[in-house]
Symmetry: C2
Subunit: 157 residues, 2 copies
């Protein structure tokens, strides 16, 4: 693409960093998903939803609260909850104080699923990721992540 003009391309350093970063992202994600899926039948997305419910009072949240915690698109969340509901991981209860809403509740099966999945998942995260990095690298990564996140927010959409 170097023959085009009028655009500021990435520097060679930036290109290399960008490609390495994208590839790492994709492969790490695929590996973690595969481990979770084959060991416990959950996806990374299921896992994230279940963690939020586990951490919440009474194991239940409104969809819009989950949305804010996870930063997911509304329809993604809605579709995902439908699938989790079909598989019995969460229940949908009526919301007495707001007729538009529902409560998403952790079922016993959902709680059992996250409890049996967690050790293997944490172990995979540790083995594949943290065990290869120094404390300083982890700290630097966190700073980079929050900086980019803030930037994404600041630049709106």
């Amino acid at each position: 693409m170097g023959h085009m003009t009028g655009t500021r391309w990435l520097s060679p350093d930036q290109q290399r960093a960008w490609r390495a970063f994208l590839r790492m992202q994709g492969r790490l994600d695929a590996r973690l998903n595969r481990q979770l899926q084959s060991d416990s039948g959950l996806s990374l997305a299921d896992y994230d939803v279940l963690v939020q419910l586990t951490d919440s009072a009474q194991g239940r949240l409104r969809p819009y609260e989950l949305q804010r915690l996870l930063q997911w698109e509304q329809s993604r969340l809605s579709h995902h909850l439908s699938r989790m509901h079909r598989r019995g991981l969460v229940a949908r209860d009526e919301c007495t104080n707001d007729g538009r809403g529902t409560y998403i509740t952790l079922t016993d099966a959902g709680r059992a699923a996250i409890e049996s999945a967690a050790p293997g998942h944490v172990d995979a995260v540790r083995r594949l990721f943290f065990d290869g990095l120094t404390g300083e690298q982890v700290a630097a990564l966190e700073r980079v992540s929050t900086q980019v996140l803030d930037r994404l927010d600041a630049l709106h959409t």
Copy 2:
């Protein structure tokens, strides 16, 4: 999940870093995909395939070569190429010297698509990502990425 025993959980620092990292990944990816999609009708995956073809001699590659360059699963690639073929971005030509294979060729429409998409995409990558980071941070990120990548390879599957 803190009540379970017998598993080494992540330290608070690691937890924070991990959550920030995952969230950054997901949101950056979604934003870049949306920009590409709405500005030029391509996905990030389409873009990656087209870049590889553009960079190759005569604009054509065997699927297994693309697979090694992109590090994708075979069936992911195969499905993806089918969709790109349907949309006219690539052609499938017979491979004369190996009866099992095909050549994936960049079409004029494919070349036009990547050429019109590239400036906007690079600009988004720069704005959303690189402009918020120092050169040192970029270098550190590349090191972390390649270290993790090497680790993923070493740990096989």
